[in-house]
């Protein structure tokens, strides 16, 4: 009761000011994020990594990663910035080249899992009933299998390589977002604005996509950065298990190499890959927290 009163009061105000000074959730969120220096710095770092990975994918930089530049296992110094690996290749160039795998794995896996999570979650939340029960059953089963086992099983079955890694990581990380979207869509579907849309003759898909989805899409943004960094971290584990990419450097394979190198005191490959990864994952974490604070005011400061 009181809520609808507030809404109508706000409605009147908005009418009076003719929407001149009104700001959307997104405007507010952007403003908040740009006020947060850490978040801006993180955004720049993630952008920088993305730029590097695009440049390396197009062959402009780090195309010569496979070239022997010096003796095997030279320590970091003036000649070799981050030292060299067993074949005398520059660890620094490999680290740059590895960005490509990490960023693409993060991006594609996050997109796959967002697609599955959003589609299943909104269908379950919107239609309810038997469809909802079926989807809830499906993700309960999925969730009951520990992620690492599912991941191992999937990448095993799909074979080695980048594409199967995308699919395996994407298929194992959608449940959380699906649950959140389902809950939010359920809350929204009986709101006045959706009923108004249906009074105007809007069909299910129009109501769902045009009206409800924009109101739950902030969850997608918040979860995207989370999934992105989880995928980058998981790539390392899969590489260690021998299920990672082959034939080109990734941070995972570099860290995997380090398990034999450390006994000889060769720490720079582990150090370079860990450092490169830590910076981007940390930035994504800070960015994710800032986005959550900005877009979900209920959770402010937690």
């Amino acid at each position: 009761m009181s809520q609808s009163n507030i809404q109508s009061v706000e409605g009147v105000e908005i009418e009076e000011t003719k929407l001149k000074n009104s700001k959307s959730l997104w405007d507010h969120a952007l403003e908040n994020i740009f006020r947060d220096k850490m978040a801006v710095a993180s955004l720049f770092i993630v952008g920088f990594y993305a730029l590097i990975s695009v440049l390396s994918a197009t062959g402009i930089i780090a195309a010569d990663w496979a070239v022997e530049v010096g003796p095997s296992y030279s320590a970091p110094g003036a000649d070799y910035f981050f030292g060299t690996d067993i074949f005398g290749r520059s660890v620094f160039t490999k680290m740059i080249k590895g960005t490509e795998v990490a960023m693409s794995v993060g991006l594609v896996a996050a997109i796959i899992s967002v697609c599955i999570g959003v589609v299943l979650g909104s269908i379950a939340g919107y239609f309810g009933g038997k469809i909802d029960e079926l989807i809830v059953w499906f993700y309960t089963c999925f969730q009951s299998i520990p992620t690492i086992m599912l991941l191992v099983a999937l990448s095993f079955v799909l074979g080695r390589g980048l594409v199967s890694m995308y699919v395996a990581l994407g298929l194992t990380s959608w449940v959380n977002l699906c649950r959140l979207i389902r809950g939010e869509v359920m809350r929204h579907k009986n709101r006045d604005y959706v009923q108004a849309a249906s009074a105007l003759g809007g069909g299910h898909s129009r109501k769902l996509i045009k009206h409800i989805f924009p109101n739950v899409s902030h969850l997608v943004i918040i979860n995207f950065s989370l999934m992105f960094q989880t995928a980058i971290k998981t790539e390392v584990i899969l590489s260690y298990l021998g299920l990672g990419v082959q034939g080109r450097p990734s941070w995972g394979t570099m860290i995997d190499d380090a398990k034999l190198e450390l006994a000889r005191g060769v720490w720079w490959q582990l150090g370079a890959a860990t450092l490169a990864m830590m910076i981007v994952v940390l930035s994504l974490n800070i960015l994710g927290d800032a986005l959550r604070d900005a877009l979900d005011p209920k959770l402010k400061g937690k």
């Binding site: 089963c141 520990p146 191992v152 021998g242 860290i255 450390l262 830590m278 940390l282 937690k302």
Partner: protein, 313 residues
């Protein structure tokens, strides 16, 4: 509805979940996976050899019978034999459970206690610089891959400084301790980040409730409020969070066990992965899924016991 009826009903609901989990495992291993007979025999196998092995592995059975076998194994724990070691898998699991638990149980208890203590301190100083530093430090800890901690810890503290055993294991009560100290420390470092963040959120959820304001208005000290009121009320999410992690202790610490050569379930699973040992991977997946399902029932029941407000419906 009384508690027993609720428990019975909740147990009844796990049947579709088990059937579903078995279905996912069946689809992955029996439908999508490449023919195991070809993997085991290699490229140069004759047709007769392949046919014989397929028969032996039960791959000639109709699809529904293969599916039923998986469902049955979830209850009977008859997983067959490993392809590489030819041992009964259930025997391997029995042997591996104790070493796994000697690592995961102390690690889990210690990390939970430490994380809850830190989160209490941090929420006492909420919004102050200690709080901000702690949160940042947690995120920093979480941003490094677990593999890096293990590799660095084993190389630096065990190999270079010689403070701990590099790897190995001995069974028996006091003998195993030196071998698990470093893995336990690494586990704690790995889990402190996410745990503190979670418990801090739980505490802060409570701190802004009305009853805390009332307690403050009555003139209770911050310390009494935190320990007597907030901690008690935060117990529900804490118990849920703790209990739901227990099934993963059974799986063991996959990477830690393999690096420190602890002959536990995690090591068995990883060997299964390296050797394409389908029955072992399947068995471990079914086992942990069953444990997860059972513990989620326990969590739900505990929930209603701890908090009578939760309606039994």
């Amino acid at each position: 509805m009384n508690l027993w009826q609720y428990i019975l009903r909740r147990l009844f609901y796990i049947i579709p979940t088990i059937l579903g989990v078995a279905l996912i495992i069946f689809i992955i291993f029996n439908v999508v996976a490449p023919d195991p007979a070809l993997i085991m025999l290699g490229k140069h196998a004759t047709v007769a050899q392949i046919a014989e092995l397929r028969n032996e592995l039960g791959l000639n059975k109709p699809m529904w019978a293969q599916y039923l076998d998986i469902v049955k194994s979830a209850f009977t724990f008859e997983f067959g034999r490993s392809w590489t070691t030819k041992q009964e898998i259930i025997q391997m699991i029995k042997n591996g459970a104790i070493p796994s638990l000697t690592l995961t149980l102390p690690a889990f208890i210690l990390s939970t206690v430490i994380a809850i203590s830190i989160s209490l301190v941090v929420s006492f100083f909420r919004g102050k610089w200690i709080d901000k530093c702690a949160v940042f430090f947690c995120v920093l800890l979480m941003s490094v891959t677990s593999l890096a901690y293990i590799l660095f810890g084993q190389w630096f503290f065990a190999y270079k400084l010689g403070w701990f055993e590099i790897s190995g294991y001995e069974s028996g009560f006091p003998d195993f301790i030196p071998y698990v100290v470093l893995p336990v420390i690494i586990w704690i470092i790995l889990s402190i980040g996410p745990d503190v963040r979670f418990y801090r959120t739980v505490m802060l959820d409570e701190i802004y409730q009305d009853y805390v304001r009332t307690a403050k208005a009555k003139g209770l000290s911050e310390r009494v409020i935190l320990f007597k009121h907030v901690l008690k009320n935060a117990m529900i999410p804490i118990i849920t969070f703790v209990v739901i992690q227990i099934p993963f202790l059974i799986l063991g610490a996959l990477l830690l066990e393999s690096f420190f050569s602890i002959p536990g379930l995690g090591g068995i699973t990883l060997n299964g992965v390296y050797n394409s040992d389908f029955p072992v991977i399947k068995a471990m997946t079914i086992l942990t899924a069953m444990a997860y399902i059972i513990f989620s029932v326990i969590t739900d029941v505990l929930y209603t016991v701890v908090d009578p407000r939760v309606r039994l419906k």
